[in-house]
């Protein structure tokens, strides 16, 4: 009979109104600034640079190999390689980024940079409240703003960071063993490597 389907629809909406008051399943809204949904571990938005140890600039894992700069699909990473080498967290002398800028107004959060980085130096952040007053300068992040500690990385992506740490520890132990083996004949070159390796 004409009107039956309409009544059925009205019943559905009425049910939704009533159940919205009792069931969280129906009324799924989260009142954002006061309430927040729990952080999902895999979430990503913009990249940051991981550093080991205390000093952000000294501990950067990035060696300015510029792979991410080349692979970045929207080309939003700008790296200037340093002309000199500085010891990294493991004490090995490495190049370091004299400039490492990411224009996050261009970045599309694809995490290709993370995948291609052979040094586990760049990772995805979860911080999303990034509004600023200046859409040019404030959205061009330099290496000081990008550098975040390994502890922070462990905090936001625990599972992934643990795997990375294990992998790095294994690699560093291997490197240390190789260095030690290589250092046997020439003990002069060894000095700081084992300690900082243990530190990391």
């Amino acid at each position: 009979m004409l009107g039956g389907g309409i009544l059925k629809g009205l019943a559905v909406t009425a049910r939704n109104v009533v159940e919205g008051f009792v069931s969280k399943e129906r009324l799924t809204t989260v009142q954002y600034p006061e309430e927040r949904v729990p952080q999902v571990e895999a979430t990503r938005d913009f990249p940051f640079l991981v550093f080991d140890g205390e000093d952000p600039m000294a501990g950067l894992r990035c060696v300015a190999c510029q792979i991410c700069e080349k692979e970045c699909p929207p080309k939003c990473i700008y790296i200037d390689k340093s002309s000199d080498k500085k010891p990294d967290a493991t004490g090995k002398p490495q190049f370091y980024p004299a400039r490492f800028d990411i224009d996050i107004s261009v970045c599309m959060s694809c995490q290709i940079c993370v995948e291609v980085c052979p040094f586990e130096a760049i990772k995805m952040d979860v911080e999303f409240e990034l509004s600023t007053n200046d859409r040019f300068d404030d959205l061009l992040y330099d290496k000081h703003k990008l550098a975040k500690s390994n502890e922070y990385y462990n905090h936001v992506h625990p599972t992934e960071a643990a795997a990375v740490d294990t992998k790095l520890a294994v690699e560093r132990a291997k490197a240390a063993a190789r260095a030690a083996a290589a250092a046997q004949p020439k003990p002069a070159a060894v000095s700081p490597a084992p300690e900082s390796g243990a530190q990391a």
Binding site: L2, G3, A14, N16, R26, L27, Q31
Partner: protein
């Protein structure tokens, strides 16, 4: 006078008392002012409440909270909206007919307010106790079409013109079933005076009232009236004139700021007044729904019924998609009009029969044409739920 009567008549007594305070020569003017000012305060306030109610209600229907940031639970939202509307830039298109463009919302709101003159909002509470109040209401209501035409034409916008055409065609078409279904009630009541129509329904059998909606013809007439009223006040599912997804905002697409707010106000006030007429004609006006509740002041009942009607409008709006222009017209002329005539016949049968027979006869007179027409409407266009075949 008992306290119940005092509560019931408090506004009437207050008015008399206030009028009695002023010199005799000023009494007619003051009397008019005291009657008019509450109307133009209360109903816009109700409009403000309805906007928040509608947004909240739609939100709840859609599993959302609705506005809840301005003030506790968002109750100050209408205030914020009002301030926004007042402070917004008033944009008039360069090509618009400026005078007509300005007067369209003014005429609309003026006419809509005029219609409130005859509404009985409680026992002895009507601004004017007009002998042909129903007719007055419809006559004033038909004037709003002029305002809509003015708005649509003066904007010099194709969407506005389309919207105005739709609106006027729709309003003229649905006025006929609207008035015809009201005629059924008028015929039984035997008067065009709204106060008298209410008093005719204010009796009780046992605890149940004699409202017209509780008779077969009255129920059908009420439904027809409400459907037509929905169309007349351009509410969903008949909101084609402003059909947001098709012609964006229809005839008020080129209005902004306070003029837009006036249109909005006019639209809602129109909805209130037509709901009030529906209440008066079929739902016993200010009469209590049960005999043991007659101690509640009559004006409270009126507003309670009004708010209930508004909630129903919101509910329907939250559920139904919109009809198309030709379907709307078909529905008006091929279903609503014949049904209104059938209801008129049914009411006549009710008038001239007695006892259980009047129930049976008037019920059958309504239900048989309804099922026939309804079936015809569906099968005519082969509307059906389809069965689908599946490929492996």
């Amino acid at each position: 006078m008992s306290s119940i009567q005092l509560a019931d008549q408090i506004f009437v007594l207050l008015k008399h008392w206030l009028v009695g305070r002023v010199p005799v020569s000023l009494q007619p003017v003051v009397g008019i002012l005291i009657t008019v000012i509450p109307i133009i305060c209360v109903f816009p306030a109700l409009f403000a409440i309805t906007t928040i109610l509608e947004r909240k209600g739609l939100g709840r229907i859609q599993n959302r909270y609705g506005p809840n940031r301005t003030g506790p639970f968002g109750i100050l939202q209408p205030l914020a909206d009002g301030v926004k509307a007042l402070t917004k830039e008033d944009i008039v298109p360069a090509n618009a007919d400026k005078v007509v463009h300005f007067f369209a919302p003014v005429v609309l709101v003026m006419l809509v307010f005029l219609a409130y003159a005859v509404l009985p909002m409680g026992r002895n509470m009507a601004a004017v106790d007009l002998d042909c109040g129903v007719l007055f209401f419809f006559a004033i209501g038909s004037g709003t079409e002029v305002a809509v035409f003015m708005a649509g034409w003066s904007s010099r916008n194709k969407y506005a013109l389309l919207g105005a055409m739709r609106a006027i065609a729709q309003m003229i078409s649905y006025e006929i079933p609207l008035i015809l279904s009201a005629v059924a009630a008028i015929m039984i009541a035997g008067t065009l005076n709204l106060q008298q129509i209410v008093t005719q329904q204010a009796g009780y059998s046992g605890i149940f009232p004699h409202w017209y909606v509780f008779t077969p013809w009255g129920f059908a007439a009420f439904l027809l009236f409400i459907i037509s009223a929905t169309a007349e006040s351009n509410r969903s599912p008949f909101d084609l004139p402003e059909g947001e997804s098709e012609i964006i905002a229809g005839y008020y697409i080129e209005y902004s700021g306070f003029k837009f707010a006036l249109f909005f106000l006019g639209e809602y006030l129109g909805m209130f007044s037509i709901s009030a007429i529906a209440i008066t004609l079929f739902l016993g006006g200010w009469a209590a729904p049960f005999s043991f509740l007659t101690w509640v002041p009559s004006w409270l009942w009126f507003f309670a019924k009004l708010v209930t009607m508004i909630l129903c409008f919101i509910w329907v709006r939250g559920t139904l998609p919109r009809l198309r222009q030709d379907q709307l017209m078909n529905f008006a002329w091929k279903f609503m009009l014949p049904m209104a005539l059938v209801v008129l016949t049914s009411a006549a049968c009710w008038r001239y029969t007695e006892g259980w027979q009047r129930w049976a006869i008037s019920f059958l007179v309504v239900i048989i044409p309804y099922s026939w027409l309804g079936h015809g409407m569906m099968s005519n266009r082969k509307l059906e739920q389809r069965k689908y075949r599946f490929a492996e």
